[in-house]
């Protein structure tokens, strides 16, 4: 998948969980949980959306590595086909 496709997928997944969130104003290095006001349940649903869109499955052990928007995007790029 190209980077733009991945960016779109991430943007779409976040949109599904926090529809009113404005991604352009999000600080890529801020913790997603704080930036988007999402709880652990929402976080799992976010990862589920990403899996549907990109095929990437994030094991629980890697939760810590995808705390911010930037980390999430690079993680998906690394694991996407």
């Amino acid at each position: 998948m190209t980077t733009t496709q991945i960016d779109d997928a991430v943007r779409h997944a976040i949109g599904a969980i926090a529809p009113e969130a404005d991604l352009s104003t999000i600080d890529p290095d801020e913790r997603l949980r704080d930036a988007l006001d999402i709880d652990s349940l929402d976080f799992v649903r976010l990862l589920e959306q990403l899996q549907n869109l990109t095929g990437v499955t994030v094991p629980e052990s890697d939760y810590a590595k995808i705390a911010t928007l930037r980390e999430l995007t690079t993680y998906v790029e690394a694991h996407a086909g």
Binding site: A18, D37, D39, L41, V44, S61
Partner: protein, 448 residues
């Protein structure tokens, strides 16, 4: 395209039986059209010469759409419908007379209240077609606003656990300024009747007339005007919390619970699970809180008419934050009997429906409420009880904390559980037992 039957709106041209240049006479069959019922012949109603075939075989057209141009008397373009009969109908005066040939189009315009003068025909030669008219049909009038309830009459929402009130009694209460909450019902199944109200009005020390407060923020459907809804919800929550503080003598307890065993069990369980069925900490905390009720049942129920009414099951209210602000706590019924997976499904479903504003009235009857604001990084939560419930459990953030065990200092994942309870229904000792029960249940996660 002719109308060939009572319920025909459109037809599919199957084939032309004529070609440009052919001479046709009234009554000749010129084409075959397929309808919902069967293929039907299309007759021509005047003599003339086929000039041009407009519609292609295989296309589906609405009734009235032009199919061909016939050069006949006066080379008038006419769809298979008859030439307009000059009728002294009073046509609205307009500078440029609209190019209208078929009475069908005029009739359609009349039907839809469209002024033909305002339309530029898209048909050949600028003729206005039926489709043009439909395109200009005015949008249906906006739905009228529901009429607000008559002012002055207490728009009381039947509160949960409260006795029903007859319309006549409600009217008398409004007339006599009687607070229905303070009236004892003698009617069928405890209903408050007009006599009850009148007797209450006669007693000297009636409680001051208070506005009847909505119990829990109503399941406000997420409608376009967000601010109005958010403000209304804020107002309702505000009233509820104020009343809760005013009436309920709260006492507070807290306990820090070691979640090492639970967290390890959670990771092992989730390792080979797809994302869609992974468990989160919250579901363990909810199940423990529900099962712990069996040890201390007086946490689960309502305070009504100066006495404790036990819940008819452990209906766990789960506090859910609505994205644009506002909080709602719908119930998961009989949470103590559900498996962790079932509880997880209920939780996911409840959260999504709450945020979409599609909660059911039947879900607004929790017997105890759990707030799990821990996710937002708060250590401990001292909540306000939702009347008429008698307890509220709060869980803070699950985080690594210093832990002394056997004289050695270590680091353990922990959570701070707090209890806010109604001192009229229980006392601190019983509250402490409840939190201890939650703690011990969380040490054997596999049994939850």
């Amino acid at each position: 395209m002719p109308s060939l039957g009572a319920d025909m709106d459109e037809g599919t041209l199957l084939e032309w039986l004529v070609k440009p240049g052919d001479v046709v006479h009234r009554g000749d069959v010129v084409a075959v059209v397929d309808t919902a019922k069967a293929a039907m012949d299309v007759e021509i109603f005047q003599d003339g010469v086929i000039e041009k075939l407009i519609a292609e075989p295989g296309t589906t057209l609405p009734v009235g759409a032009p199919l061909a141009v016939i050069a006949g008397e006066g080379a008038v373009e006419a769809p298979a419908a008859p030439a307009a009969v000059e009728v002294p109908a009073v046509a609205p005066p307009s500078e440029i007379a609209p190019v209208v040939e078929s009475p069908l189009v005029r009739h359609r315009a009349h039907e839809l209240g469209v002024d033909l003068a305002t339309i530029v025909g898209t048909g050949p030669g600028g003729v206005i077609t039926r489709a043009d008219v439909d395109a200009h049909a005015p949008a249906p009038p906006p739905p009228t606003k529901p009429i607000p309830a008559k002012p002055g009459r207490a728009a009381a929402i039947p509160t949960q656990g409260r006795a029903p009130v007859s319309p006549f009694a409600r009217r008398r209460a409004a007339e006599l300024g009687v607070d229905l909450n303070a009236v004892q019902g003698t009617g069928p199944d405890g209903a408050i009747t007009a006599d009850d109200v009148e007797r209450a009005a006669a007693k000297p020390e009636t409680a001051p007339a208070e506005p009847v407060v909505a119990k829990v923020a109503p399941a406000a459907p997420v409608v376009p005007d967000m601010q109005a809804k958010a403000r209304a919800m804020r107002q309702a929550i505000g009233q509820l919390m104020a009343r809760s503080k005013r009436e309920i003598p709260h006492y507070y307890l807290s306990a820090t619970i070691d979640l090492t065993v639970a967290t390890d069990w959670l990771h092992q369980t989730n390792v080979d699970r797809p994302l869609s069925s992974r468990l989160v900490h919250a579901v363990l905390l909810l199940k423990a809180s529900a099962r712990a009720i069996h040890k201390v049942p007086e946490m689960n129920g309502f305070w009504v008419n100066d006495e404790f009414v036990p819940g008819d099951g452990v209906h766990l209210g789960v506090a859910i934050s609505l994205r644009q602000g506002g909080l709602i706590a719908p119930a998961i019924h009989h949470a103590d009997t559900l498996s962790l997976d079932e509880l997880m499904d209920h939780l996911r479903d409840l959260v999504s429906r709450a945020r979409a504003g599609r909660l059911k009235q039947s879900e607004m009857d929790p017997t105890i409420t759990i707030t799990n604001l821990g996710d937002q990084g708060v250590d401990s939560v001292y909540g306000v009880i939702y009347p008429p419930q008698v307890a509220l459990v709060g869980f803070g953030k699950v985080a690594e904390r210093p832990w002394a065990d056997g004289g050695m200092l270590g680091v353990r994942p922990c959570v701070t559980a707090t209890l806010a309870a109604d001192h009229r229904a229980s006392d601190g000792h019983r509250g402490g037992l409840y939190l201890a029960a939650i703690d011990s249940l969380l040490q054997k996660p596999e049994e939850l």
